[in-house]
């Protein structure tokens, strides 16, 4: 370096000398020209590098590729890409009106779905929609102009056959099928161009009562399900068609994964009207996620959405609390149908008040779902819930954290004491959680439940997830077989968790299900859960209906009850039951209650409630090793008797007169559904990967630099020779 500097100094006087001497000389001009060229080259290169990305972004789309802009579409119409051309195409347009009538513990709902075909072709519309997981769908009507066609209940395959025959004959037809206890599909054949068809679906659900509040939920969005598993053998998938029919765990995946609406405009507007007749004075009524208006008429409340309609992107939940002195301790409803007595019993065991025994020493395992579907608000809620849970641990408790997405990871290799240091380590671990990847729940559940529970700790597993999986049955099996003395509590996160999965998982896990929809709810809901976790439960619950009585009571095995939870029974008997005695024990202290069932006026829907309870108990019995064929026969039997849609029965309605002329072709359209609120579509669907590399950029930069270097070398060399010549010229005369 030093010698270089010396040379530079040496050079300067000589050049100045040369320039002074031959001022108007060509070579001086050349030097300046060279400098100018170099300067320009460098500036251009710098500019080029700086502006590179901007230039590319502004680059217009080549004309030879047709691009369809979604901006050109007139408002209100729903569009989807046509499979057989590159153009977008209008598809049926859906509007939903929901009317709910609450009476006692029973809710009867009417859903009116309006399908409008805005295209120029005859279409078949397929709409996948969620309902509460204990919904009993018992009526469907197809409204064509003035005519009303009542749907009839049939065995699933038979219903499908009836529908397909009608579809081929050009008749209007509707088919309502159950895909999961909380996911249904409605298929409507032969909607004429420009025509509007209405389908009315009626279902019944039971109110949820916990910790002194009643809640009514209407799900409106389906979180896209993660479909795990490897391909199944070809021979299995041949009989059916559909994507992911080819994975072992989820053989019907194609049916529960509706097309997701990816545009920014929300579709499928829903309006909700509720007539609430609680049966006791209310302290308050609140809607958790929507603005409502309420009006008191006589003893009932009329409730509506303030905005009139809402896009179906998040669940609706209405909660009401009785006035303090009207808190229900028990409720009994009955109904007499075809000589059979149906009864519904709800009983809240007494509060243990201030439990004074030894505080429970707990060994808590937290499982947190960090899969892609949790991305967005959900993971933040999960983190907030976890942090809060850690603060509730006492020094004598033990804990561990397991996270899972495509892979499973745990904080400690085994449960550690909840010491100050360990909690701090755990908090740092939680803060670093981020959501990405698949939802492989099974390994995490196995890990959490694979524990010897011979020590003196109460083993609790707290499972935080949005439950967006399709292999529910496999997971229930794991929980059922591995539970041992542990208790599994599920915490549902996100605006549309798969509550069927979580409620059932908690049921098999003999724990409870808590649903948290917003970060601001974490505190309240988690506190309620903690009071359950920290207080002893009511166990060994038995029912005694008297010696000379017979009755079919569901559920047959009564689950343990946590703090604030009611016991709910569905009873069917030939002779009405007079008395019922319920016994149990809480923290080894016995408890019993005797109820008189006689004194009640009849109410509606109790038979349907009983049938729905029986069906869900039958489905659960498969996990206890019941014969599948027998269960299927039993379900069909109950469902046909009570006119219910189930796993094995569907509602079908067919118009008598054909409406589509033979020569017109029928287009098939799936109605896209909205992604649940707050969820990022790209993470959920694992949408389109980044497919550009920096290879080109690197190579271009490299070549530019090399060319520049080469140009400089050449330029400098030529000036060097010239100068050498000059020097020669100069030398000669002297």
């Amino acid at each position: 370096m030093l010698s270089l500097n010396k040379n530079l100094f040496k050079r300067r006087p000589r050049r100045e000398y040369l320039q002074d001497r031959y001022k108007p000389h060509k070579s001086g001009l050349m030097v300046w020209l060279q400098r100018l060229i170099i300067f320009i080259l460098i500036s251009v290169l710098t500019l080029f590098l700086l502006l590179l990305s901007d230039i590319v972004k502004a680059e217009p789309v080549a004309d030879d590729f047709p691009q369809v802009s979604l901006n050109n579409i007139s408002e209100g119409s729903l569009l989807i890409k046509n499979a057989n051309s590159a153009l977008y195409k209008q598809i049926p347009h859906l509007k939903t009106v929901v009317d709910m009538n609450v009476s006692g513990m029973i809710v009867r709902s009417h859903i009116k779905q309006q399908f409008k075909n805005t295209s120029n072709n005859w279409v078949e519309a397929i709409y996948v929609f969620p309902l509460p997981e204990l919904a009993a769908v018992d009526h469907m009507r197809l409204l064509v102009g003035e005519r009303v066609i009542e749907g009839i209940i049939k065995e699933k395959q038979e219903a499908k056959k009836i529908y397909n025959t009608a579809r081929k004959a050009g008749k209007k037809a509707a088919l309502v099928e159950q895909e999961r206890p909380n996911i249904f599909t409605n298929t409507i054949a032969n909607i004429a161009p420009g025509e509007t068809v209405h389908v009315e679906i009626e279902y019944q659900q039971t109110l949820h009562y916990d910790q002194g509040s009643f809640s009514l939920r209407f799900p409106m969005a389906i979180t896209p399900r993660y479909i795990p598993g490897k391909p199944v053998n070809e021979s299995i998938s041949v009989s059916n068609s559909g994507w992911a029919k080819n994975t072992q765990q989820v053989i019907d995946a194609s049916r529960i994964t509706p097309h997701i609406n990816m545009s920014n405009t929300l579709i499928n507007p829903v309006s909700i009207n509720i007539n609430l007749n609680a049966g006791f004075p209310l302290q308050n009524i609140t809607s958790r996620y929507h603005n409502i208006t309420k009006q008191e008429v006589d003893d009932a409340y009329h409730i509506k959405l303030s905005e009139g309609v809402t896009p179906s992107d998040r669940d609706f939940e209405l909660v009401w609390t009785p006035q303090l002195n009207h808190m229900p301790k028990a409720a009994i409803f009955n109904e007499l149908i075809n000589g059979e007595n149906y009864q519904m019993l709800m009983l809240v065991p007494p509060d243990n008040g201030g439990y004074n025994g030894q505080p429970l020493a707990r060994d808590v395992t937290y499982i947190v779902d960090t899969s892609g579907s949790m991305h967005g608000i959900s993971i933040e809620q999960a983190k907030a819930s976890l942090l809060m849970a850690l603060d509730r641990l006492r020094l004598h408790d033990k804990f561990n954290i397991i996270q899972f997405n495509s892979i499973t990871d745990r904080l400690f290799t085994s449960s550690q004491m909840a010491s100050f240091e360990n909690i701090l380590i755990a908090k740092n671990y939680i803060k670093q959680l981020s959501a990405d990847g698949g939802t492989e729940m099974a390994p995490a559940l196995n890990l959490a439940l694979n524990k010897l529970s011979s020590d003196n700790y109460v083993h609790q597993v707290i499972f935080i997830t949005d439950g967006s999986v399709g292999n529910e049955t496999e997971l229930f099996d794991i929980i059922h077989k591995k539970l041992g003395n542990s208790r599994l509590f599920t915490i549902g996160i996100g605006s549309a968790p798969n509550s069927y999965f979580m409620r059932k998982a908690a049921q098999f896990g003999r724990g409870s299900f808590t649903y948290i929809s917003g970060v601001n709810e974490v505190n309240k809901k988690m506190s309620a859960l903690f009071s359950k976790l920290e207080s002893p439960l009511m166990t060994n619950i038995k029912i005694d209906i008297g010696d000379n009585q017979t009755a079919e009571i569901w559920p047959q095995r009564i689950p343990d009850l946590y703090h604030g939870e009611p016991l709910t029974l569905a009873i069917k008997s030939g002779k009405p039951l007079n008395n019922i005695k319920i016994t149990g024990s809480r923290a080894l202290a016995p408890w019993s209650a005797k109820l008189n069932l006689k004194l009640n006026k009849p109410s509606k829907g109790i038979a349907t409630f009983w049938a729905r309870q029986k069906i869900s108990a039958l489905i659960d019995s498969i996990h206890d090793g019941a014969n599948k064929d027998q269960v299927r026969t039993d379900i069909i039997d109950v469902a046909l008797n009570h006119h219910l849609v189930s796993k094995h029965t569907s509602l079908v309605a067919v118009d008598k007169t054909p409406s589509r002329p033979n020569e017109s072709k029928l287009d098939k359209h799936n109605i896209p559904v909205n992604l649940p609120h707050g969820q990022s579509s790209q993470k959920t669907f694992g949408q389109l990967a980044q497919t550009a590399t920096s290879a080109e950029l690197n190579i271009i930069c490299g070549f530019t630099l090399l060319m520049l270097g080469l140009a400089l070398t050449v330029l400098l060399r030529s000036s060097e020779t010239e100068r050498a010549n000059d020097m020669n010229n100069e030398a000669r005369p002297l």
């Binding site: 050079r11 047709p66 590159a86 068609s241 550009a692 490299g702 070549f703 270097g709 100068r723």
Partner: protein, 202 residues
């Protein structure tokens, strides 16, 4: 004579970074080519019934299908997953989408400047073959090519036929990375393909 002392500067500031940049760029291409050859062995394992056969011990992916376009002499092994790490080695199959060759929408993505550069040459009606562990060459026909914004991409949920969507970044000759436009070639199983020229005879 004197001016040659400038050359070290040129070498230091231009030639060395230039070579480094070219090296980086070539490395991406080299990885793309070499990996495909290494995947051959893993693919033959898959064909022999060993599913999820990893091409090298530390790989987080495995071959799921083979994509062939005879017209352009393309023969690529498709890997499981479409993370950036996977796409460096070959086209990646989106986990959430249908398995290639099966009914529904199957998404296969690859880099526009390596494996999927040929997409720009595909036209409706062209033939694509998909080979899977169970199935030999299944013929697909290109239905459409389109350019969409990543957030506006939609796929028709038709479960009665098999679709393969080949996805890459757009524009092809752009040198910036991370753009939001995607070029999507949609192909349908030949058995469900209706030649557009015969459309009206349906």
């Amino acid at each position: 004579m004197i001016i040659k002392y400038k050359k070290p500067y040129i070498i230091v500031f231009l030639f060395i970074p230039g070579c480094w940049f070219i090296g980086q760029g070539s490395y991406i291409h080299a990885k793309a080519i070499v990996a495909q050859n290494l995947l051959e062995q893993a693919w033959s394992n898959v064909k022999q019934g060993k599913s999820q056969s990893k091409p090298w011990p530390w790989a987080d992916t495995w071959p799921v299908a083979r994509l062939k376009v005879p017209k352009f002499d393309i023969d690529l092994i498709v890997l499981a997953g479409d993370s950036g790490r996977t796409l460096a080695f070959g086209p990646g199959h989106n986990f959430a989408s249908a398995i290639p060759g099966k009914n529904g929408n199957s998404l296969i993505s690859a880099h526009r400047d390596t494996h999927f550069n040929f997409l720009k040459k595909l036209n409706p009606g062209d033939s694509i073959f998909i080979e899977t562990a169970q199935e030999e060459n299944k013929l697909f026909k290109v239905l459409s090519t389109q350019i969409v914004d990543m957030d506006e991409a939609r796929f028709i949920n038709d479960q009665s036929s098999a679709y393969v969507h080949l996805v890459t970044c757009y524009p092809f000759d752009s040198i910036s990375t991370g753009g939001s436009q995607r070029y999507i070639v949609t192909a349908i199983s030949q058995t469900d393909y209706i030649d557009p020229s015969n459309k009206h005879n349906f």
